[in-house]
Symmetry: C2
Subunit: 110 residues, 2 copies
């Protein structure tokens, strides 16, 4: 339970940054090498690598080195965590309205 909380905190922190979200948008089309990912970004390679590390620690991406090329790809584990957190909050809230609705349509007790 506690490690789950840490994982959720990490994933939301990672997604809070617009550069990291742009990286994920590119990667959702398919795996890309680190150098190709870095090209359109207006920052040093070291800064890009740091963003990638944060994404990898959050299980939002996976990287693999083959020869001299490191390639990044989407990792669904982190996405599933965030998706579940959001959906759970929404469902709790919606269920509350369903209960209120049921109370309001209940036949009046005499």
């Amino acid at each position: 339970m506690h490690s789950q909380q840490v994982a959720i905190d990490r994933a939301f922190h990672a997604l809070g940054d617009p550069t990291r979200r742009a990286i994920l948008e590119s990667l959702s089309q398919g795996p890309i090498s680190v150098s190709t990912l870095a090209k359109p970004l207006d920052m040093t390679l070291a800064a890009v690598v740091q963003h990638l590390q944060i994404l990898e620690e959050s299980n939002l991406i996976r990287t693999e080195k083959v020869g001299r090329v490191r390639t990044c790809q989407i990792e669904l584990k982190g996405f599933a965590l965030v998706e579940k957190w959001i959906t759970d909050r929404r469902l709790l809230w919606e269920r509350r309205f369903d209960r209120l609705g049921a109370l309001l349509t209940e036949p009046e007790q005499k």
Copy 2:
């Protein structure tokens, strides 16, 4: 399109903070007054109000003042934005695998 991007940036920025996520977790049980929300949080009322403003600007909560009491509640608009962004990335990635699978099972051309 551009304002949509701004809205997504705002919502993810808002969700990147653990205090703001804790506030949303409390609110998903039902509406709560600002002072009740602030009680368990180890910060000044001014700091809490600032977090609430960020959540409200991101359409993740709505606040309403009745008399001297301001009450907060979940606003689903911001949740829907974030949920869609996450799901879209995941679906793009999954569809890519489906296409690869289809290519691999296609009968060989002679």
